[in-house]
Symmetry: none
Subunit: 189 residues, 2 copies
DNA sequence: TTTGTGACCAAAATGTCCAAATGGTCATTT
DNA sequence: AAATGACCATTTGGACATTTTGGTCACAAA
């Protein structure tokens, strides 16, 4: 089978299971049934491999979100469906937050660069969707970049931060409802 | 002068200057011109002393936020002013700034716990205000705790986080405007 | 010739001491 | 009765030894 794909699969499993630091290149090579050197023929180093995997996950989520959106539905319906779809990845998002937090002291510019990139990818994606509905006249003319940024931060707050200070995490329905009730509602004409 | 007050003053200065971990009980005793044992006749231990001091800061924060609120203003205006005032504490109060820094790169458990208390205090404060305006009939019947939480996180995102990924920070007017446009708007009857 | 590999290396992480520092106590002083 | 600081048990941090790990490359396999 394709060696690169084997490596990506193994690395994804390992990073998801043990986090970034606790995953070793030897481990990935072993799981992928590949020599360690082989990994380095496809990926420059561990950081780049991780980055590649994160980028793929984002691409997958973008795809899923896109699939769920139907042109003939209202903004509210599509926004709700897209949000619920994203909440299906909730555990992945929580894990990612954990890894980022775990690596907080590793304030290397490279790590920061990746985070910036991830944030930009998500915000851009959401911004485009918002702009489309503004053009359609379904929602008000707002600063779509700021709204996209707020949506991301609000989502992360309810999915990740809430658990830090509360021992019962919010259900998907509660998260969807509160965002629906505040941000989405504000955007309607 | 009152020995307890001397201790509190000395401890506040020391915590503000050096943070929690780097402040020693000997140091506090020396600054307060008091025997170390005396501290323990007023405060059970270092942690309790620290909490007492942060509690005083929280009380001050609440007071300042309360002072900013005027009954004849709209909910949006009051909420904005109060939240901005509380977030400003990071710049105006050395103790708060020091604590935030220490939580970020030392991860001191006591400091983490105390910061949770600060967050809880702010959210509770905002929640009470929301409830009052719900009763007044100015805003819709929403889950006030979740809305308060969202408001705090939204302001934190725009006031603090935005600068991390963008080199131009947002003006107070821009922040006020975007929150009005995305959250406050949905709350109005 | 091209692709894959694992022994090898420098660097980073982890473990091990041990002396210095620190939180907390309590017999003694005021 | 209130205050104190010498004292103690525990923790911390620094120096050093040991292990682990990311990354390389000479060599093997295809």
């Amino acid at each position: 089978m394709d060696r690169k794909q084997e490596i990506i699969t193994a690395a994804t499993r390992s990073f998801s299971l043990f986090g970034y630091k606790a995953t070793t290149m030897d481990q990935i090579a072993k799981i992928a049934n590949v020599g360690k050197g082989t990994i380095y023929t496809f990926f420059e180093n561990k950081e780049v491999l991780f980055q590649e995997i994160v980028l793929r996950m984002i691409a997958e989520m973008k795809q899923e979100a896109t699939n769920v959106i139907k042109e003939d539905r209202t903004f509210q319906e599509n926004a709700h469906l897209a949000l619920m779809k994203m909440l299906e990845f909730r555990e992945t998002h929580q894990l990612f937050a954990k890894i980022v937090d775990e690596e907080k002291d590793l304030r290397t510019p490279t790590v920061q660069q990746v985070l910036k990139q991830v944030e930009y990818a998500i915000v851009s994606f959401v911004k485009v969707k918002i702009d489309k509905y503004i053009e359609k006249g379904e929602i008000r003319q707002v600063n779509s970049e700021l709204v996209a940024y707020l949506l991301l931060k609000a989502y992360l707050a309810f999915v990740n931060d809430w658990n830090i200070t509360h021992d019962q995490s919010l259900s998907e329905e509660e998260i969807s409802h509160i965002i629906q009730d505040t941000i989405f509602r504000s955007l309607l004409i």
